[in-house]
Subunit: 273 residues, 2 copies
Amino acid sequence: MNNQATMQRFSLNQITTEQWGLAEAIEGSVRQEVAWMSVWRHKLHEYGLKEAKRHLSDAGLSLSSLCRGGMFSAGTKEERVRRIEDNKRAIVEAAELGTDVLVLVCGPGATNDLNEARSHVEEGIEAIVPYAKDHGLKLGIEPLHPMYAADRSVINTLEQANDLAEKIGKDHVGVVVDAFHVWWDPYLEKQIQRATGNILGFHVSDWKVPIVDMFKGRSLMGDGVIELKKMRKRVEAAGYKGPIEVEIMNQLLWDMNGNEALAQVIDRYHSYV
Amino acid sequence: MNNQATMQRFSLNQITTEQWGLAEAIEGSVRQEVAWMSVWRHKLHEYGLKEAKRHLSDAGLSLSSLCRGGMFSAGTKEERVRRIEDNKRAIVEAAELGTDVLVLVCGPGATNDLNEARSHVEEGIEAIVPYAKDHGLKLGIEPLHPMYAADRSVINTLEQANDLAEKIGKDHVGVVVDAFHVWWDPYLEKQIQRATGNILGFHVSDWKVPIVDMFKGRSLMGDGVIELKKMRKRVEAAGYKGPIEVEIMNQLLWDMNGNEALAQVIDRYHSYV
C-alpha cells in the first residue's frame, strides 16, 4: 500500500466545482489531467445526456459514479412509486454514460416515524434492484452522517449500510464510504473489513471545527481532523482500489475560479489522501 | 407504562435556564413545583458549594445529577493528570450535594488521533472509578452526537458507552441516554435494552431542522422530529424510572424571562415526553 494516492485514482466529484457546468467541468478536468469524474444529475440534465456522453468520451474521461439515486421515503404510496420511477431513470442514465455505480442517498429524513422511513428505503432499493441488474449496474448505499438523519438520509452508519446490502443482496448492492460521513464511527474499522469486496466508492473531504453550515460545511483535505491516509489504507485493505472521489461542498471553494479550485483540490489530494 | 411523564419525574437541567444563576434557578423551580434539578459546575462555583447545598435543601429540591465531569483526553500526560484531579473535585462536589450521579462528557474531541483520544477517555474513567466508589457515586457516560466527535466528545453512540461501562465495570459506571444525541441511531432500541439496569439518566429536548448552531441547536420538545414518548417508554422498559432531565441549549429560550421559559418547558414536557 502506498503512502500517497495516485493521480490515476483521482476523481472529481462535480459538486466540488459547483461553479462549473458539466461542459466546463469536463474541460477543466482535462486541462489538469484528471482521469475520472462523478457527475450529478441536475448538471447532466442541464447539459443533456447525449451531449454529455459525447463530450466525456471525446475527453477520455471515465465516470466513477452517477450522483445520485435514492430519496425513497415519502408520506404516500403514490409519492414513493414516483420516486422509484425517478431512480429507474437514474439507472438508465448511469448505464448510458457507462458507469457501473449509482450512488444512493437514502433519504430524505425522518419527518415523522424513523423506522418507517427506513422501511421505505429498504423497499425502494429492493424495487430497483432488478432494474439495476438488467442495466449491468450496482447500487451503492452511502451512509450519511447522523446529523442528516432528520432531513437527508436515514442510513447513517456503515454498519447499517452493510446490513442492508447483505440483506438485499451483495450481487447488486454495495456500500460507498465517504470519509466526512463515517470518520467519527467507533466501529468503522470493523465495518470496513466487513464490507470487503463490496465497497463501490471512496469519497474524501475533511471535517473542520467549527462546522459553519450543515450542507456546505466540508473542508479541503488537510484542514480538518479526519485521518484520511489511514482510512484510505483500510479501504484498500478491504479490496477497494478504484477511483477516489473528492466531494467537497464548500462555499469558499465555489466562490473561487474553477481552475484554481481544482488545482488546490488536487494539491491537497496529493498531500493528505 | 404511562402515556405521559409525571411532574414528579421532571428535572430542570440548569443549562435550560442559562439566564438564571443557581439561586434564581432554585427559586424559580420551587415556584413551578419542580422537584429535581441538575446543576452545572460553573453555576455551582459562582454560588458557592455550601450556599448551594443549604439553598437546595431548604427548597426541598433533589439533584438528579451534577454536570459534568469528563474531558479526559489531552496532548500531554501532565494535562491528563490535571483533568483527572478536576474530576475528583467534581466527585467531591456531587457527593456533598447529595446526588449519586456524575455525568461524564467524554471529550474533548479528536484533534489528532481519534483512537488515542478514546484511550485517554477510558484511562481517565478507570482512574476515577475508585474515587467515585469511595464517595458512593456512579459515573454516567453520556454519548454525545457524532457531530461533536471533533470538539466535544469521542464517545458517540450508546453501543460505545455500553461497551465502556461493561468493560470498566457496571458497579460504578453506567450510561446516560440523551434523546438529542442518540435519536438517529438505527441500533438504539437494542442498545437501550442492553443497558437495562444500568441507565443513570434520561435527557430530553428536540431536533428541529435546520440546526442553526452546533451547540445551541436544540429545540423545545414538540418542535422537532424526535419520538420522545417512544424513547421514554423504551428507557422505562429498561428499568429506568428516575428523573427526566430537560436539557435545552437554545438562544431563544435563554433570551426569554426565566419564569416564562420554564413554564413553556414544563408545558412541552407534559405534551411531548
